[in-house]
């Protein structure tokens, strides 16, 4: 585990908003010099605090108007079927996120689709036919907000 000070937190917070910021700009925002900012970001990256970068795209403009969160319960439990399910679900391009969870469902999926009828196609042809898939609950995303999280 990495211990963070206020400078680290300020740098991570700035990079969460814009990963392309230069060391000079990062330094200005965190109130440190360019070289200190550069060294700190290098240390944070090497320590694994930053997992990578993600593009912020206008999904609607690219034709993906619908995001759905699915809760999936497996019908027949067993080690082999968990692995089969995971391998098959990961291969579906419309499935962005797969999390194994404990609770009412076994898996939590994030799925993108062009529209609701495209989503229905993905659900019927790809998700419902997954090995071991049982009960499925779908919730269509109306709004989404990413927060900085506990960096304060």
């Amino acid at each position: 585990m990495i211990d963070l000070d206020d400078t680290d937190r300020a740098l991570l917070h700035a990079l969460q908003g814009d990963a392309t910021l230069t060391a000079a700009e990062l330094g200005r925002r965190a109130g440190v010099s360019q070289s200190v900012a550069w060294r700190r970001v290098k240390r944070l990256t090497e320590a694994g605090a930053i997992r990578g970068r993600r593009l912020d795209l206008d999904k609607e403009a690219l034709g993906f108007g619908v995001t759905v969160f699915l809760g999936v319960k497996l019908a027949a439990k067993g080690r082999a079927s968990l692995e089969d399910f995971e391998r098959a679900v990961t291969a579906i391009p419309e499935v962005q996120t797969v999390q194994h969870v404990l609770g009412r469902y076994d898996y939590r999926l994030r799925v993108v689709a062009r529209d609701l009828s495209d989503f229905e196609r993905v659900l019927r042809r790809r998700i419902m036919t997954l090995p071991g898939a049982g009960e499925v609950e779908a919730n269509v995303v109306l709004s989404e907000e990413r927060r900085p999280g506990p960096l304060g």
Binding site: M1, I2, L4, L12, L15, Q16, G17, D18, A19, T20, G48, A49, I50, R51, G52, R53, R54, L55, D56, L57, D58, K59, A61, L62, F64, F69, G71, V89, T90, P93, E94, V95, Q96, T97, V98, Q99, H100, V101, L102, G103, R104, Y105, Y107, R108, R110, V112, E137, N139, V140, V141, L142, S143, E144, E145, R146, R147, P148, G149, P150, L151
Partner: protein, 151 residues
């Protein structure tokens, strides 16, 4: 408005957002100068809004992640707005989504350990306004997390 070249550039860029435009142009089979112009245009159009760093919360000591599925009191017209406004003040809340479906709102809550989670849950979550029901899904492992679009 967007053609195959735009989609090809974005497809390759989302697979590796940190790469240089020269590398991106090469893998996409587009001249570098054309790739620059296209990316500039996509930014100007607001299609490519930027790049965000993804934080590894586990590496920062946040071992617990919980997905809280909340039902709100729909007889209260301001339920959504007020619930979301107070949720924003909880630093451990990293995502807020609203839905059409059985669940009204979902929160991602990060905590250092179960004791810390319980403290957040009791003091900051259960005190949020207009909650009718809360259901928790405890995150075990992430199998896939790409958030790329199938362009």
């Amino acid at each position: 408005m967007l053609d195959d070249t735009d989609r090809r550039l974005l497809r390759h860029l989302q697979a590796d957002p940190g790469q240089s435009v020269a590398d991106l142009a090469r893998t996409s089979g587009v001249a570098a100068s054309r790739a620059y112009k296209r990316l500039e245009r996509l930014q100007a159009m607001g299609v490519l809004k930027g790049q965000r760093a993804v934080i590894d919360w586990r590496a920062l000591g946040y071992a617990v992640e919980v997905s809280l599925r909340v039902s709100l009191d729909k007889t209260e017209p301001r339920a959504f707005d007020e619930f979301i406004a107070v949720s924003r003040e909880v630093p451990e809340v990293s995502e807020i989504q609203t839905f059409l479906g059985r669940v009204d709102v979902r929160l991602t809550v990060l905590a250092r350990d179960m004791r810390h989670y319980q403290e957040i849950y009791r003091r900051r979550i259960l005190t949020l306004p207009h909650i009718v029901d809360v259901e928790a899904l405890m995150h075990v492992t992430t199998i896939k997390d790409v958030e790329t679009l199938p362009l």
